[in-house]
Each structure stands twice: as structure tokens, then as C-alpha cells.
Symmetry: C2
Subunit: 375 residues, 2 copies
């Protein structure tokens, strides 16, 4: 166990607040994403999952509030690099990676200043990749708002990504928690390789499943793996325990990406905060499309119609609708969500060696809820 | 002293080869840039400086060959991220920052595997910034060849920069030399802030000297500072000694940038490997222009003529020639080189506390030669 930290004195692990009273009396921040997911599950008649999401929100509300405060307390200035970064950070986001850090820490000795710092760092690395990705993909929208690069320019978005990355590494470094920095550098290396693979696969709509999953593993699952590992180490986990939690993160990440990809075809732009069919437009073949192309010979032509549209909005809307219907109709969306469900199950399975408790229950809830999310 | 390393076993400090015999018998790689600088000094009648550059080249030839081998041994693959990075690395370059690491290490216990790794790292960080800068500036040429982004695309150039940065940090981390990683992260943070400041100052051709030097300090001098610090620590220097060598790096960096900036107006494109007037084209006011605008009221109009040229190559060549003549004519180039000379003097002054020896002589030579360089 190596949980000493250089940040603001010794660590103080905090236990979960007692739920009932805290929930009623508190007027403090609430993880908004979890609450909307809770409401969604209720609407869908998934009452017991809704209940568990409520408990989860209660368990981590203070942890997540601390992460949020720290994210908003990053240096600000009139400099475009800072403004571009804060523009993205201020949009909020699911903060699912910091949530993983918090819960992994709570599987051990609890949430702490070090866990908070690692949670902040993982979100910063994630945001750094978004800032660079938006430049690479000419992204217009991000988290329901104009992408930073559309306001501050591509150059500022590149530097802002560089800045957040360096800032994240500094924070991880300062926690002094053994293994976290080395592993994060390795993970970022994997992320870059996966982004590069995705870049080169652009326009290859006949991309095989193998290559698709290689991209998913590197660009998404890798950072979830690190979030769980880092949180585990902050909570004093042994290497064996940390590895089990890493495996949870790995499967959660794949499930998360699968749902992300299906929402691009079958989601609602107002809910997701992203323009639909973005992957297709960027020439990225994702799992729903890969499945649909195998199953429905019409999909090929519909894709071509979408890609060859030269600015006729009405025709494009119709082509989108037909393509979405074809992908939905051949069961690709359902099967994609089912595969996400299978990865969620494997994530839960990875928790088996651990004794039951609120953090374990919460992690199980996160895995299950990820499959049902609509944003 | 903390010179243990995790890379390939214990450190073996090597002393300088005895010059005379080694120089005659060896057929091993030669630091090409130093040799061309030596020849230049001879042509200019600076015989004793030429002689010293020869000694310097001899002193570090094996160190630099090791750095070069390591740089070329970075993972290669068909991936654009790797090809883009190697495209730049394979162009060579002055390798002045690794040279600083090597000489700073030789001020102490000598060049070692750790020093080599730190030398590789500093060059990788430098190359990472070049890859991102070329995207930011729409750079076409770099080191006399097409910029990586013109071959592999902007996206690959961004990821390649990210990759080199992470790879550099991993190498520094693995040396385990106290303070080097933390300080490098801080330095990169400074570099990003300076790049951002430069970005926002674009098009402000009335940029004051203060802001210009703030940019120079962050974007150039900072990394030279780190090179000297890192080399010093690898050579077992005390913090006080390391700080003195940092001060050398700081002044050397400013001198280097001043010469870079004057070569953009008064250099020879074939020699520098860069298109001339690039700074002006990118809207960057540098010291020669700042001086010339103060001194010669015609400069303002000549600048406007250059910037407003709409593709008439002959007119542009004439405007360039007139502007270059005006900047030269008012003494701005000479004064810029004189200021570089003053910083070189301050760099040498920072070495005063150290006892004389081949490494100290070499550092003095580097500072003096930097002022005379033509590429």
C-alpha cells in the first residue's frame, strides 16, 4: 500500500455518508447524469435499477462534487489555451471515468484526496483526447455545445489538449501512488496508436470486427482500465485486486463504446448532445454498421446515398431515416446493445472475488446502467 | 547524487576519448552540424573557434552517435503516427538540446545511459512541438524536407507529436533521476503557454519586445534550461550546480532563438532548410522586425507590400529583397546578432563557478558558435 500524497497533507479516507438522512437534507450538487439515467430506468419500468442508481448517486455525490470543483479550479486566464480547455470542461459531461476512480477507491480504503486527483486526471486525459479528436475529425459539436476549436481555433484546441495532458500527468505524479504514472503513460501510448489506427481505417466501411474492437480497446477501454487501476491503488488494493478491477474497467469501456456507437445511429441528437451519423460522416465503420452491412444488402446503397449527398438537406434527412430504419430493422441495434450487455456481465463477473458492499453494488449498477443509457 | 537507472543495468560513465589519436583513426559518425560550423568559422577567419568546435565534435561524437542510434531505434510501424514521427526524426537536425545534456553530464561524472536517455527525451519533446507547430502554422517545410503533415496529414502529425511527447516522458521516468520528470512537465507547461501567447499575438506586428522575449523564454529557452538541468543531474550535480547550468541553458536558448529569428530575414534558405520570411508570413513579429520598425519608417510599408501580395511571385521576391535590405540596412540584423552575443556571454558567465576542463571549454564553444551559426 502506498497511499501517501504530496497534495494538501495526509490522506483522509472518507466513508460513504449514511444515505437516508443525507439524501433528504442535502442541497448539495447531485450527479445530474446519474439522476437522468435513474429517471430513464423508471420510465422503462426498470424500477429496481432506478433505485440502485439513486443509491449510487448518493454514495458518490460528494466524491464527484470534489472532482467537479477541482476540474473547475484549473488555472484560468485570457489565454486561448486555457479558455479552450475550460470551454470543454465547463460543458460538464458524464464524468464516468472519475466515477470509476471513486468507486474503485471505495472498494478499498475509500475516497481520498489522492483518489480525487486521479479522478481529475483521468477526466483531463479524456478531455485532452476530445480536444485533439475534434481537430482531427473537424468536429463541430461536443457535449451539446460548439466544439472548442470552432470558437478558439484548431491551434488553440491542439495546445489546450497538450496542456490538459501535461496537467493530468503532473497531478498523477504528485499523488506519488506507485505504478499509476507509468501505467497512464503506457495507456496514453495505446490510445494514440488506436486513434492512429482509426484514422487510417477512415473510409473503410468494410472494416472487420477485429479491427473495430482493436480501436475500441485502445481508444476507450484502455482509459477505463486505468481509471479502475488508479482508483484501486488509491484505495490500497493489492496488484491482484487492482488487476481484477482493471478487467472490470476493460469490459465497461467496451460496453460504453458499443452503446456510444449505437446511439450514433439509433439515438436522439438532443439527448446525446452530438449530431447523429457523425461516425459515418467521418468514415468510421462502427459495430452497428458492420453488423447491418453483413445482414442487409440494401445498407451498402443507403450508405452511399448518405455519403454522396451534396448538400440537399431534405434528401439527406430521408437517406438518414432510411439507413437508421435498415440498421434498426435488421436487429443490428438490438444486437449491439446485447453485446454491450454481455460485456457488462463480464465486468460484473470480474468483481466476484470482492466481498459485497455499497461500492461493489454501485459498480454493478454502473455496468448495468451503461447498457441502458441514452446519452 | 542520484544516478541510478532502470535502463539496461548500472550506469557506466565514460570519460572523453583522448582527442588526437581518436580523431585521426576513427571512421565513426561525426556530428555533421558541428563540422559544418567548424568549416564556416574557418572561412570567416575564426580559426581558433573552428579549432575548438573540432575538439567539441571529438569530445561528444560517441555521445551523439548513441543519441542518434536511440532516436532511430524508436518503434517503427506502418502506422501513420510512427511514420510521421520518423519522417521528422530521420531528417536529422542540429541535436543541440541533446548536446547540452551530454555536455552538462560531462561537467560531472560523465555521459551515461541515463544521460543518453535524457538526451533522447529532450530531442523528442522538441520534435513533438515541431510536429504540432507545423499543424498550427500550416508549415510546408521542416529541416529542408516537406513537413510530416504535408505527407501524412495534419491528424497524423498531431498524433505523432502526442506520441513523441509520451514516449519522451516514459524515458525520463525510467531513468529515475530525481527532479527531471517533474521539471520537464513544468517546462512543457511553460512551452504550451508561450506557444499560446505567440498564437494570440499573431498578426500583431507591433508586438513589444517584452512580449517577444516572454515567448522566446517559454518556447525555446525553457527546454534548453531543462536539457542542462537534466544532464547536470545525470552527472551527479548538486542542485546549486544544476541551477548554474540551467542559467547557461536559459541564455543559450535566447541566443539560439535570436539567431533563428535573424536568419529568417537575413539567412540563406538552402542553408537553413527553411523558407525565408516564414515568421512574417505567419504573422509573428520577431526581434529583427521589431527593431527595424522602430528605426526605419519605410519598414511598415514594405511589410504591408509583402503581406498584401496576392500571388505575384516576381513582385513578392522584390518586396522580400527590399524588406531584407531595409532590415539589414538599419542595423537590426547586426544588433540582433550582437544581442545573441550578449546572451552567449551571460551563458559563459554562468559557468564561472566550475573548474576548467574539456566539457566546460566545449560549453563555452557551443555558446560562442551559436552566435555565428548560419543554419
Amino acid at each position: 500500500m502506498s497511499t501517501s500524497t504530496a497534495i494538501g497533507g495526509p490522506l483522509q479516507a472518507r466513508s460513504a455518508p449514511s444515505t437516508g438522512a443525507a439524501r433528504r437534507s442535502s442541497t448539495e450538487p447531485d450527479p445530474a447524469v446519474l439522476r437522468s439515467l435513474e429517471a430513464l430506468c423508471r420510465r422503462r419500468g426498470l424500477g429496481s435499477l432506478a433505485e440502485r442508481i439513486g443509491d449510487l448517486a448518493e454514495l458518490v455525490r460528494w466524491d464527484m462534487a470534489e472532482v467537479e470543483t477541482a476540474l473547475r479550479s484549473l488555472p484560468r486566464s485570457e489565454r486561448a489555451v486555457h479558455r479552450g480547455a475550460h470551454h470543454l470542461l465547463d460543458q460538464g459531461g458524464k464524468r464516468l471515468r472519475p466515477l470509476c476512480v471513486a468507486l474503485a477507491a471505495r472498494m478499498g480504503t475509500g475516497f481520498s484526496e489522492a483518489a480525487r486527483e486521479l479522478g481529475v486526471a483521468v477526466e483531463l486525459v479524456h478531455c485532452a483526447t476530445l480536444l485533439h479528436d475534434d481537430v482531427v475529425d473537424d468536429g463541430e459539436q461536443r457535449r451539446g455545445a460548439p466544439a472548442a476549436r470552432t470558437i478558439y481555433g484548431n491551434a488553440a484546441s491542439i495546445f489546450a489538449g497538450d496542456w490538459l495532458l501535461v496537467h493530468a500527468l503532473q497531478r498523477v505524479r504528485r499523488t506519488g501512488i506507485d505504478g499509476t504514472l507509468d501505467r497512464l503513460l503506457t495507456i496514453i501510448d495505446e490510445m494514440i496508436a488506436a486513434e492512429s489506427l482509426q484514422l487510417e481505417s477512415r473510409g473503410q466501411l468494410d472494416l472487420g470486427a477485429e479491427r473495430y474492437f482493436a480501436v475500441v480497446e485502445g481508444k476507450t477501454a484502455a482509459l477505463f482500465r486505468w481509471a479502475m487501476y488508479a482508483g484501486a491503488k488509491a484505495g490500497g488494493a493489492t496488484e491482484t485486486e487492482a488487476k481484477a478491477l482493471e478487467s472490470y474497467g476493460d469490459h465497461l469501456g467496451v460496453a460504453f463504446q458499443l452503446v456510444d456507437d449505437l446511439l450514433d445511429y439509433g439515438g436522439d441528437a438532443d439527448t446525446t448532445g452530438k449530431a447523429l451519423f457523425a461516425d459515418l460522416r467521418e468514415g468510421k465503420a462502427t459495430h452497428p454498421l458492420i453488423l447491418a452491412r453483413e445482414r442487409d444488402p440494401q445498407v451498402e446503397g443507403l450508405v452511399r446515398t448518405v455519403l454522396e449527398n451534396d448538400g440537399d438537406d431534405a434528401a439527406l434527412a430521408e437517406a438518414h431515416a432510411l439507413l437508421a430504419a435498415a440498421i434498426e430493422g435488421c436487429g443490428a441495434i438490438d444486437d449491439c446493445r446485447a453485446l454491450a450487455g454481455e460485456h457488462a456481465r463480464l465486468a460484473v463477473e470480474a468483481l466476484e472475488p470482492f466481498t459485497d458492499g455499497p461500492a461493489k453494488t454501485a459498480l454493478i449498477t454502473v455496468a448495468r446502467a451503461t447498457v441502458h443509457r441514452e446519452r
